[in-house]
């Protein structure tokens, strides 16, 4: 599943933490895209360019287009090689690209951008960048998919921005692991379908290629206690669903008012001895108001 992360377009969030760092996974995905022949743009804000390019061999390094915002983020040296508008300007420039092949944009890191830019502006820009392929240009030529990989450090942000970015992202990869074995929990949101949730164990090799693995042995993870019985939902209903034996017998012996059984048929067919007088048995209720006065007494017939 991890290798098909880039099959869907859109924003991919890589959420890492102090114990399980995500930059190596980011670099592995960048390498994969570069090997597929896609254009790769990197917005480097957190680490220097040399550190990012370390570990890649030269042909991959030649394919990466690196925008460096680490060395001089506010453009104080005014050399003119820095892009105007800072990282936001660079992102917006990528919104209006003219070439139409598939492109991967790696944000290293999205946390840095979130701390330096207002959250709403960042969300709007990310949305525009990652949804370029849904609005094709006027001539109708197919636009390649845009993948935006954002590295997000979970511990730096509160639930607000994290929630906002999660709702925006098509795929969310949360890094974790057990006992030295790294795992990625991949939550994939397709537009009108149920989100899928999978866990994939992996490791990154020194040349930043991805090695997918099976999980660790199962007996190290205790499952839920088998002694606890499953919850019986019928216990808390407002009505009783179980019949006792006596109740069951009473129910079986009940004759329904509209049921036409053979006894009834015979009783009706048998000539009744007292046709003229029929008995009405009436048991008055507690609330019944028995008025002995007959209202028809007033009539003078």
């Amino acid at each position: 599943m991890l290798d098909s992360l880039l099959a869907l377009g859109g924003l991919v969030l890589l959420r890492d933490s102090v114990e399980w760092e995500g930059r190596s996974l980011l670099k592995a995905l960048v390498k994969k895209s570069a090997l597929c022949g896609e254009q790769v743009h990197i917005l480097g804000c957190e680490v220097s360019e040399e550190e990012f390019r370390e570990g890649f061999d030269s042909d991959i390094n030649n394919r990466l287009v690196y925008h460096d915002f680490f060395r001089d983020p506010l453009n104080w040296s005014k050399t003119g090689e820095a892009l105007p508008g800072g990282p936001l300007g660079a992102l917006r420039a990528m919104c209006n690209r003219t070439d139409l092949g598939p492109v991967t944009i790696a944000l290293d890191s999205l946390s840095w951008l979130l701390l330096h830019l207002p959250c709403t502006t960042l969300c709007q820009t990310l949305h525009t960048v990652s949804h370029q392929d849904s609005c094709p240009p006027g001539d109708g030529s197919p636009v390649g998919k845009v993948h935006v990989l954002g590295l997000l450090h979970e511990e730096l942000h509160g639930p607000g921005p994290m929630g906002a970015l999660s709702s925006l992202a098509q795929t969310e990869v949360t890094l974790g692991g057990i006992m030295g074995q790294a795992s990625a929990r991949i939550l994939c949101r397709r537009p009108r379908q149920r989100p899928t949730d999978q866990t994939q164990w992996f490791s990154i090799l020194p040349d930043f290629s991805l090695d997918l693995q099976e999980g660790p042995s199962i007996e190290s993870q205790p499952h839920s206690d088998p002694h606890i019985p499953p919850v019986d939902p019928t216990a808390h209903l407002t009505f009783n669903l179980h019949l006792s034996k006596k109740e069951r017998e009473a129910r079986d012996n009940l004759t329904l008012p509209f049921q036409f059984s053979s006894e009834k048929q015979e009783a009706l067919l048998r000539p009744r001895p007292s046709q003229a007088t029929s008995h009405i048995f009436y048991e008055p209720d507690a609330y019944d108001d028995l008025d002995q006065e007959d209202p028809d007494d007033d009539l003078d017939i």
Binding site: T120, H127, R192, R194, D197, V231, T234, L237, N240, L254
Partner: protein, 432 residues
Amino acid sequence: MAAVATCGGDAGSAGSAVATGSKSNVTSFQRRGPRASGTNDSGPRLVSITGTRPSVRNGQLLVSTGLPALDQLLGGGLAVGTVLLIEEDKYNIYSSLLFKYFLAEGIVNGHTLLVASANEDPANILQQIGPVSSSRFGHYYDASKRIPQELIEASKWHGFFLPEKISSTLKVEPCSLTHGYIKLLQFIQNIIYEEGFDGSNPQKKQKNILRIGIQNLGSPLWGDDICCTENGDSSHSLTKFLYVLRGLLRTSLSVCIITMPTHLIQNKAVIAHITNLSDIVVGLESFIGSERETNPLYKDYHGLIHIRQIPRLNNLVCDESDVKDLGFKLKRKLFTIEWVQDNYLRQERNIYPPGFSYLLKQKDSAWGEGSLQHSTFLMSFLAKATAFASRLVRHSEPLKQTGSGRICQAAGPRLWHDGRRQEAPGLLGIPP
């Protein structure tokens, strides 16, 4: 509030109102004599707009939300001039479905639509709905099919897609309302004024309803940071927007649906403000990914639906249903809402004698499975109030007072029959 009463039968009945013995006549006083106005209007001056009907409680004009089950829970439908707020479920699957049902209902009835969204082009949204079958009021839509293209083209709609309306490099001066909201309000106001929904264009004879749909209001894509921080700069922006929107709606023949990701809003007090500023608030909670998915009580359902608020329009009391645990499930053509414990009522058929079940199994009856009447019957039967239960089934017309008045109000959902509400007769009986 646009108080337009409708005539019970067809609007095209000629002559004065005296001749027609319509069923839902608003008043029992008839007018005789020559008519004062010399207009050529056929029939009385009351108009009938397609897709609307009067409420049986107070004559309020109602439109369907597109989902008959939801209409029933809201007291017959959505009142014209009100706002329906849907609190989105976590992955925005079912709330967008309700949004599309609302729009599809508008297309089928010929209402004018106004679709506003910040993340998806309104034309794309309209492509994703499809009608299937119709009933009297409210239709059933198949979510997987697409609506025929000519139907969309025949209908009148206006779209508001935020990234097109504002350019990102615009320098905006700080103001109490977010820029996107101001633009949206101006757009809505223009449409209402130009198309005469507020009665400003008296030449228009054919009145119509404007259905406004706003998707994902409050999300960061609208420029509002209410989902990102607790005390942001524009913390009052959304509440002001809702206030102004409601003012616009009350003075026009329009109805609005808003979906809002309230699970992202950090400041809980704001959610209470938003609830107060909307008229009807419905919350959706889907079971995907939550621990309730494994609970056997919720096994057959896709989520819970919470009716958080129902308005009191021209009334002292609101029409709130007593049932609290409502679950929904989405089958291909049908989005059903029912009482969660209905599952167990259905399964435990061996509890009550078989003679009763044939009456309940009739096709298309109001006593069908999952209806509130069915649940009431089963509940009262199982609670050993057999007399009451048998009376429910024996008469298919309203319950008559039979003299002894020992019928106590059954606990549980009240009865709906064809949309009209029947009270179980209480102690104040009408003497025979």
